[in-house]
Assembly symmetry: C2
Homo-oligomer: 224 residues x 2
């Protein structure tokens, strides 16, 4: 199987991640050729400098991980991130509004972040573990008309992360209109492979290096 | 013992809290006479309306719970919260900067939020469970000269919340200069009482009603 590197958002969102941790993350991303480096807004400028001239994108998270910031704050945070070099924006929707079935408000929230993101790719985190299948279907429909490029399963900070069932559901419902990013709890090549097999186009993980090493072993390649 | 109500920030920060949940929270806060209602920024306007004319303060959280937003975003979020009626601002410091011992940057981050908060009370969350005693002492010193009113132990979203040892330490180090808010994992009157006994001036908890009922029982009072 081809290398999964270009599907991986190499991610470090731990609250106490340091500049040194972020530097290592960027070096690994360049070495393995990951799709992006995904960090907190605080580190976007640093990552933008470190990745300058590489093909690795700069990804950050907005309204993260609870999603219940105001839309104005999400818009402000998005604009600043894009000005600081972010190519990709992973935003969290307002999860309380989902409980209230206020899908118009959710669409407006996403719309305004997409607009603020300008040319940057927007991924919309719907925190799958909180909702039943009907709600997840409705959320994919909302994201599909919002102008965002991806629906993303999970923040990685809730009770559980991506499941194969959720990725399959999101892919089927969004088919041809929106891509799917699987994130949260993906720590090995077997799980990564399962997510790609059911339709994920992007994998958010902090175990990118382990996954690449396991993939290389599975292919009989020498580990880097 | 006197009622602990006036020490309690009646808190609901669950990601999928709804408007109905927030309404209940405000009713309870007025009924028991809690110090404040503490909610996500998304709900500040609603809480401000619901508490209008009461003596319960409106409290919200900034850069929460990870703290690694930019200072500009924290300032923007603080200003908007205060304009929407927030009386108290619980901000999270940048925890990665603590790991790097970059205390000048932490002081600047707090300073700028305090300035944006104007007349609002600022509490500074230092996420005690991540750091050793020396670092916690240095953080209290930083908070004590920042213009903030409180140092707060925990977000409630990290590995563990307030401990009696931490509250005692923060109270001793901050003595006479800064007050202490204990938060995270305080779910009963016994624990609440222990935190107050070692110097906490405010208790952040989502179990305010249970705590009040247990206090009433301990005093032989009829439960409301």
């Amino acid at each position: 199987m081809n290398s999964p590197a270009k599907f991986i958002d190499h991610t470090l969102l731990r609250a106490d991640a340091t500049e040194a941790d972020i530097s290592t993350l960027c070096e690994e991303a360049v070495e393995y050729g990951f799709a992006s480096v995904c960090v907190s807004p605080y580190y976007v400028s640093q990552v933008n400098s470190l990745l300058y001239g590489s093909e690795v994108a700069v990804c950050t998270v907005i309204g993260f991980p609870l999603g219940n910031n105001t839309t104005e704050v999400k818009v402000f945070e998005t604009r600043q991130a894009v000005e600081s070099g972010a190519d990709e924006i992973d935003m969290v929707i307002c999860l309380g509004a989902v409980r209230e079935a206020n899908f118009a408000s959710i669409l407006d929230d996403i719309h305004r972040v997409v607009s603020a993101a300008d040319q940057a790719v927007v991924k919309v985190i719907i925190e799958c573990c909180l909702f039943d299948e009907d709600v997840k279907r409705r959320l994919v429909e909302v994201v599909a008309v919002s102008g965002a490029e991806y629906v993303k399963t999970s923040t990685g900070f809730a009770a559980s992360g991506a499941t194969v069932e959720d990725v399959r559901l999101l892919s089927q419902v969004g088919s041809g209109r929106i891509r799917v990013k699987a994130a949260g709890g993906i720590r090995d090549w077997l799980t990564c492979q399962a997510m790609l097999a059911v339709g994920a186009s992007r994998i958010g993980t902090s175990a990118g290096v382990v996954i690449m090493q396991q993939w290389q072993e599975s292919e009989g390649l020498p580990c880097r």
